[in-house]
Amino acid sequence: MNRRNNNLAAEGIDYTVIWLYGILVSIGVLCIFMVEYKAGSNWLSTFLGGKTNYSKQLIFGGVCALVATFILLTDSKIFTAFANLSYLLGILLMLATFVLGKNINGSKSWIPLVGGFNLQPAELCKIFTSLAIAKFISRQEVDFSNLKSQLIAGVIALTPAALSILQHELGLALVYLSLLIAMFREGLPAQFLIIGSCFGILALATLIVERDALTITLTILAGLIIFLAYRQVRKKQRLITITAILSIWILCVGVQRYVVPYIFNNVLECYQSTRIYSMVGKDYDCSLNQKSNEKVTGKAARKPDDYNVRQSKIAIGSGGFFGRGFLKGTQTRGKYVPEQDTDFIFTSLGEAFGFVGCAVFLGLYLYFLFRIVRIAERQRSAFSRVYAYCVASILFFHIAVNVSMTIGLFPIVGITLPLISYGGSSLLTFTVLIFIMLRLDADRQMVLR
């Protein structure tokens, strides 16, 4: 009986994903080793000593292997069963941080555990939210094409996001937006994404183009469209069309002139605005920021500094085509890039192995993502499929944003590189996320859920 169960557990598991997972975690340990290595130290003893970060990451890896095995040995039914409950638990934990929270790196999102370890509920909540969304969408009575269920799904995804923002974890909050990709696959109208990206483009244009110049451009654009549309549209519909265009124009100008500056000055913290501005190569005047003014009254606004991005770009850029070689990166050895073992781990790879190494690494990741999409598409159960898409979306968002911010394509938000960055919370989250998917996939032959 026992043996049969074991056989059942091992059956149908996608070993490609496990291989990829193993390779990526190894690369991660290697990268952390490169960051922390000091010339002359005995690498074997420091690896086994448990004092250094790479040694710790190795231990985390071991723990994660145990957890992964445990997940693979469970019955996939429990994930559907406990999906909503776990979501509730996740939200409760996040709320608990406001009471028990410990301040690490300026964000109060950690709950101290025994033995000096800290837990970040917002990190774990990704799993629970993915499960909850999968559960919700897969319900028989839910028709995802209607607006009501789309809104409910949105609320499920955005509740932890809102809580993250309150904990000053903008990066984690953004991750929840990535679940829109999964929802899009399940029938969320494309308009949401298109309008969303239009807003993004408009916001970016606001940063780059002078305020009045942009208003004039938008006005000319609207006038041009009205002029062209006037002849094309039938008489009856002219009024409606023109009103529509005019209201879009008002919206755009409103967003550009008032909403975006309002967000930068009143919603975002000074340092966040600064990072976003520095990405397009501009200085943000912190004296405009309401929040910073409340905090540092009378103190002169500090000149914004893009030290992190600069050093990170130098590290990656200095790698050149073939890289500087293993442990030979001067930026890494000199500790020029802050947070290099966590958020900026990609720089050590880029410096040591150059463009070739980066391309191979990204190729590996892209293959990983495609593999997950393939797994998702072969599911019979909607729950498994939605869940797999959630995993793919979260991974994709993490990778794209993390790498983009190290190469100056995206403002710096605290987002880790999955499976690579140092940190138990992050590694454990992604392990659980991936292996639940593998468990579900292994049981894809079972009845529809």
Binding site: A39, G40, F144, S145, I181, F184, R185, E186, G187, Q311, K313, I314, A315, I316, G317, S318, G319, G320, F321, T330, Q331, R333, G334, K335, Y336, G350, E351, G354, F355, C358, A359, L362, Y365, L366, L369, F370, V373, A376, E377, A382, R385, Y389, A392, F396, A400, V403, S404, I407, G408, L409
Partner: protein
């Protein structure tokens, strides 16, 4: 429903690919097409440490080091690590107050940052070093770092050897590609400057990896690309350090200079510019103070090298040349006589004279008869064969040039002046086209517009001694390990004067020897050696005020086989025979015999050394020494009682 949305899977994949393509494009931009990041990384990480080579040593003619290196110590501090230092004790040891300590610390942190080592107190005295060394454990963050400093073991030859100074931005701009960097030292004056290229050596460079706070992490690639420092090459000079010391002693309490040349080689045996100073004053940490003192507060200008950088009228010493040129041109001969009644009146204006009587060339030189050379000079200029003074003066000047006058000699010292041999163009401007020999008759006795440096004058003596040839006077004979920069080649080329018969020189030698035997230079006689000499007494004025005459003396010895040619001058010392001539005689004896014989001669050294001939106009400006003020006060007090 899932089937309905199947194609959206493709869109999701496209979104993935789109993002990755964007990232890849940016990576190509950063890693493949930009070079600035690599440079930025190198600028971040590499710390080039310069290993300073020892400068070359300068030896005298008997291989005694006269300029070498010693170790000195700097007190270096890393401000970030200096917490817990016993500030009071350190201040007491260095003799500064805590306010100064704090100010220096602030300045260092501002200039160099808190984690990098900076020099807190440079060039510690040996005493301070010893005291600090015992107490270093009380000053965490402070270290003693050694550095090589120039030292002058014989305390002499300041003007010749020169000194080094830290490079400034102007120097770096002028010497862009010669590998100097801020903090380097370079030779500013003297031989240190002329032979900078040889003495400086080649700096070594060590590359270190530096972390984000500027702390050194270790050598780059285990020092594979480091270069070792190559010490500067040593120089062998022709200077005789004992002669130099004696010269400096004799010139104490005087303003003037001495140049002695070995006529056989052109090598300079001693070169004294008085007043001189102890060159070691300009190496320690009081360097700046001493330099400022000498530069701005000493009216005697001790930093001026009076042997090459000032020009004087050569006075009667020039008469030898006038005689030689007259003979060579055939306008006078050894039979020609001039009768002088105590002054020359041929030009309507009285030109005073020391001696009266009837002279041929030889006694004219010996007795320094002005009238004789005035006549000779007029004959040269009014040469009937040519009948054009512009041409005859040109001819005269050609002789002068061939004796190394009127142009830079090319001594291996910086800032040499060229002196002046006036041309007819110059006189045409002043006196018009038809200028007369009488207009410039002062030139005949080495006054007027003619000026020379003392080195040129010594060189003229060497040429007369050699009877018509010379090597360019120089201080450095050879470079250890070869003269790679060809800096000494020009000193090995034999120079010749315009064709002058040897018999003419014989005549002049005879006259010059007469100077010593029965003429104006009788004071300068050296027992047992045939010295040929010529005195000079030069009238001069300073800002319209007529001053005491400059005393000149030029000589060479022994007559039969000249081994030393010498020129001595004492500013405003009066008659040349009483100061300059005996100084020359003592130096000649010292050089030829290696020592001064007899108590009488030895006493003369002290007597000459104590003879105070500092020009009165300088004396007035000099700061009275503190103890003389005290003495005067005491005297006054006694007088009152």
């Amino acid at each position: 429903m899932s089937a309905f949305n199947q194609n959206r899977s493709r869109i999701v994949q496209l979104i993935f690919i789109g993002a990755f393509v964007l990232i890849t494009l940016q990576l190509i931009n950063l890693q493949v097409f930009s070079t600035k990041y690599k440079m930025a990384a190198d600028n971040n990480a590499f710390y080039r440490k310069v290993i300073y080579p020892d400068r070359g040593i300068i030896f005298d003619r008997k291989k005694r080091a006269i300029l070498e290196n010693t170790i000195s110590y700097d007190l270096v501090v890393i401000p970030a690590e200096s917490k817990g230092t016993d500030t009071l004790a350190l201040c007491a040891l260095l003799n500064i107050d805590t306010a100064t300590y704090k100010k220096r610390m602030r300045d260092l942190i501002f200039k160099n940052g808190a984690v990098k080592p900076s020099v807190f107190e440079p060039l510690l005295t040996t005493e301070n070093f010893a005291r600090l060394n015992e107490n270093m454990y009380r000053f965490p963050g402070f270290t003693l770092s050694e550095r090589s400093v120039r030292s002058y073991p014989y305390d002499c030859g300041a003007a010749v050897l020169g000194y080094t100074a830290e490079v400034d931005t102007g120097f770096l701009r002028r010497h862009k590609d010669e590998g100097y960097e801020m903090g380097d030292y370079f030779g500013t004056t003297g031989l240190e400057n002329s032979y900078e290229k040889i003495l400086m050596g080649q700096r070594g460079i060590k590359r270190f990896i530096r972390d984000n706070k500027g702390r050194i992490q270790g050598p780059w690639e285990k020092g594979e690309f480091d270069t070792a420092a190559i010490a500067g090459k040593n120089l062998y000079s022709s200077i005789d350090v004992e002669l130099q010391k004696l010269g400096e002693k004799l010139m104490e309490n005087k303003v003037g200079s001495i140049v002695a040349i070995d006529p056989k080689t052109g090598g300079i045996l001693c070169m004294v510019s008085a007043p001189t100073y102890n060159p070691n004053y300009l190496t320690g940490n009081q360097r700046k103070k001493h330099l400022v003192d000498m530069m701005y507060f000493d009216p005697r200008k001790p930093l001026l090298n009076r042997t090459v950088s000032t020009t004087y009228s050569p006075g009667s010493t020039f008469k030898t040349l006038v005689g030689i040129i007259g003979m060579a041109e055939g306008v006078i001969d050894d039979q020609m006589t001039v009768t002088c009644g105590g002054s020359y009146l041929g030009c309507g204006r009285r030109m005073g004279c020391h001696a009266a009587g009837t002279f041929t060339l030889k006694p004219a030189i010996s007795k320094s008869c002005n009238s004789y050379f005035a006549v000779a000079f007029r004959r040269i200029l009014d040469n009937v064969k040519v009948n054009n003074r512009d041409i005859t003066l040109g001819l005269f000047n050609e002789y002068a040039y061939s004796f190394g006058l009127g142009k830079k000699l090319g001594v291996d010292l910086p800032s040499e002046r060229m002196g002046n041999i006036p041309t007819s163009k110059y006189y045409q401007k002043i006196f018009g086209k038809n200028w007369q020999a009488c207009n410039i008759i002062s030139n005949s006795i080495g006054q007027g517009e003619i000026t020379t440096t003392l080195t040129q004058l010594a060189n003229v003596m060497a040429i007369i001694a050699n009877k018509g040839w010379y090597y360019l006077p120089h201080l450095i004979d050879s470079v250890e390990g070869g003269d790679d920069y060809e800096m000494l080649a020009r000193f090995k080329v034999k120079q010749r004067t315009k064709n002058i018969a040897e018999s003419i020189f014989e005549e002049v030698h005879e006259g010059m020897q007469g100077t010593m035997e029965f003429g104006t230079g009788a004071y300068a006689k050296v027992p047992g050696i045939n010295v040929c000499g010529k005195t000079g007494t030069v009238e001069n004025a300073y800002r319209g005020e007529s001053l005491k005459d400059h005393a000149f003396f030029g000589a060479f010895a022994p007559r039969e086989n000249p081994r030393i040619a010498i020129a001595v001058m004492c500013e405003n010392a009066g008659y040349g025979a009483t100061s300059a001539a005996p100084i020359a005689s003592l130096l000649i004896e010292k050089y030829l015999r290696d020592s001064i014989a007899g108590p009488e001669r030895k006493a003369k050294i002290e007597q000459l050394s104590n003879m105070n001939l500092i020009p009165p106009q300088m004396k007035r400006l000099m700061k009275p020494e503190p103890n003389t003020i005290k003495k005067e006060n005491i005297k006054k007090a006694i007088a009152k009682n």
